[in-house]
């Protein structure tokens, strides 16, 4: 039996999402931009979806722009603001590539993180102050966008968005604040996070919705140039016929995730804590990422992120799969090869240790049997690799 401990890569679709998607797909055809009744019905699905997502994000329904996933939303935020306003972008060094790449492409700045995996607020303060001083003489030096993720996708470490927002409002008054909240919705109530920011990205498949659907929350008044132009859908912020069935399914998943969050956090963190404690107790040379002097950083309930001395993740994952345990390490490149983690590098982990990383991520469908299987498989696999390679 397969033990799926890779919910952070993609969460199994919630049954309610699948049912919703099928219901819409099996219903009458309708392009939401059209004029007839079927079209109006499709548009009604979108209007309902927009309103529900707005409620979960404590924003206006008009702020919701549906996209084809998290990467599109992140790209739209970074490039859309820079295109609309010029100036410079700043992001944390541990952003997902969907933010990091566009920021680096536009020669932006990355802000260091602390060894505990959280953004270095002093460094951010200094970056923002320096840019503010420089922009007095040269307006193009002004920071127009700051992007800091809500939850890191590798380590699960929660970022202090409220503090980031305070710094941005104080030191970069004209800057827009974006957060990639792709890993957050399952674990954190975004009604507490979204109000701090101007832009927020979500991806449906990280909380039990379908792949290829997401959204960007764009607070009213935020400068944003469209990346996709054409039919003018989504208030001309993102042209293209919407994925109506996918969006409906995303909303169904989000509503269920929101309603069951408290229970799930409690249940999952107990499983995750048992997993980590057992592995630390039984596997020598196990390091929990972000733990400095025994202090655990704030981390979402679903993610266990470990590094093992003297092994290579890709070999470990291979052996775990042999024991029906499905997990992951850092991100993969276009070829499917495992890349050394930029997140762990930014946290100051030595490259050798970062090469031995393992992310075990749980979710709504995880069971004690999954945790038992992982505990049983990891120790012998690590021991074998240390002995043989």
């Amino acid at each position: 039996m397969a033990h799926y401990l890779d919910h952070s890569a993609t969460t199994p679709p919630r049954p309610v999402a699948v049912e919703t998607m099928l219901r819409v797909l099996n219903g009458p055809p309708g392009n939401p931009s059209g004029a007839h009744r079927f079209a109006r019905d499709a548009n009604r699905v979108l209007d309902d979806a927009r309103e529900t997502m707005a409620e979960l994000l404590a924003c206006d329904a008009g702020d919701i722009v549906f996209t084809a996933g998290g990467t599109e939303a992140d790209n739209m935020a970074v490039l859309g603001v820079l295109d609309a306003r010029g100036g410079q972008a700043v992001c944390s060094a541990i952003e997902h590539h969907a933010v990091l790449e566009p920021v680096e492409y536009r020669r932006g700045t990355t802000c260091p993180v602390l060894p505990n995996g959280q953004i270095d607020l002093d460094a951010l303060r200094s970056i923002l102050s320096t840019a503010a001083a420089a922009s007095v003489d040269d307006g193009s030096q002004a920071i127009s966008l700051v992007s800091v993720m809500a939850v890191n996708n590798e380590t699960g470490i929660v970022q202090p968005i409220a503090e980031v927002a305070r710094l941005v409002r104080e030191l970069a008054r004209n800057a827009v604040l974006h957060t990639d909240a792709v890993q957050a919705l399952s674990w954190l109530d975004l009604r507490n996070i979204a109000p701090h920011v101007d832009l927020l990205s979500l991806a449906a498949h990280k909380f039990g919705g379908p792949q290829g659907v997401g959204l960007l929350m764009v607070r009213r008044g935020t400068p944003l140039a469209a990346r996709t132009i054409g039919g003018g859908q989504e208030r001309e912020r993102r042209s293209g016929t919407q994925n109506v069935a996918g969006i409906a399914a995303m909303v169904a998943a989000a509503v269920e995730a929101d309603a069951t969050r408290a229970d799930m956090v409690q249940r999952t963190s107990a499983m995750r804590d048992r997993l980590v404690a057992q592995l630390q107790a039984t596997v020598p040379g196990t390091h929990v990422s972000g733990v400095i002097d025994g202090v655990e950083p704030e981390r979402v309930a679903g993610i266990a992120h470990l590094c093992f001395d003297d092994i290579e993740s890709e070999a470990l994952l291979f052996l775990l799969e042999k024991h029906d345990v499905f997990a992951s390490a850092a991100s993969s490149c276009a070829s499917g090869a495992m890349e050394p983690s930029h997140v762990l590098a930014a946290m100051g982990l030595p490259r050798e240790l970062a090469f031995g990383s393992l992310r075990l991520s749980l979710g709504y469908s995880s069971t004690d049997a999954d945790v038992d299987a992982a505990i049983a498989a990891v120790g012998p696999a690590v021991a074998r690799l240390r002995e043989r390679s």
């Binding site: 890709e314 070999a315 291979f318 052996l319 042999k322 490149c333 276009a334 070829s335 499917g336 090869a337 495992m338 890349e339 050394p340 490259r351 074998r384 690799l385 002995e387 043989r388 390679s389």
Partner: protein
Amino acid sequence: MAEILVAMSGGVDSSVAAALLVEQGHQVTGVTLKLWGGESDSGCCSVSDVDDARRVAQQLGIDHHVFNFGDEFVEFVIDPYVADYQAGRTPNPCVECNRHIKFDKLLRRADALGFELVATGHHARIVQDDQGVRRLARGEDEAKDQSYVLHMLGQEQLARLILPVGDITKDRVRELATELGLRTADKPDSQDVCFIHSDGGREKFLGDRIPLTAANILDTDGAVVGHTTSVQLVTIGQRKGLGLAGNAERNYVIDIDPSAPSVTVGPRELTRTDRTALSQLAWTAESVEGVVMVQAAAHGRREAGVVEPGINGAAVVRWAEPHTRIAAGQSVVFYVGDEVVGGATAE
């Protein structure tokens, strides 16, 4: 039936190697090595080659993985390649990749993952004598033989290696691939060093990493007869590509001094020598004292010579007839009949 990890480059040979092993009933898993992160369009680690390998694996119904050996590739292949050119040597990166990556790192990884054997699509054969000694022998297809670049394989490695296409011709490999409907059936053979981009070539690759030094080209009397923009790219024995006028028969490179810097050209007879110094001498099994046939280029002719071992892997090959000087860094491989008995690196 064995558990076999087959290294699939995305080319036709390793595709068919995997197919043959599946047909023989083995439990086969495919792996493609990601070796080079930089740009390359000719190589064995481009995304489209990984796609080809993965699609062939899917078609054969076997698992396919990608292993990232990029750090090792830089450490054992790229860095020494650059350092060798900087020192006026002519390295053979494919041999170093075989030595350190495919037949060291990959073999160890395969062992750790529980595979009994590793297979590749190389055109060479592994033969075993009555005493149980294994040797690498030339492939069935003489024109495609790759035993030269595999000369470093010792007993331990040969015992864990399987070369399924070594005893069939390249034409037969393509026929089999066509019969099986493999998408790689008509894929052209890779020719070039996998990490060198065809646009800028070796010169751009090296120029991005080390200073290339301009140098005068001298004749044997010390007179300047020409000029090169990069002494590091000149190879012993080279005659073409230096832009020299005059008697072509006197334009063979006979000496390269990157520190001077200078290149000296002279008549062909000065490119000949009766002995060649070697390093990294290794015998496949026992050492061979008499005459062996020596090959010093991938598809070079084999010439008779006697190997005289020194200490710490140093050796000298004494040629039966004067031999063209061999650029330092090139592999020198010893054959008896069609079997490899050992090899070394020219100094």
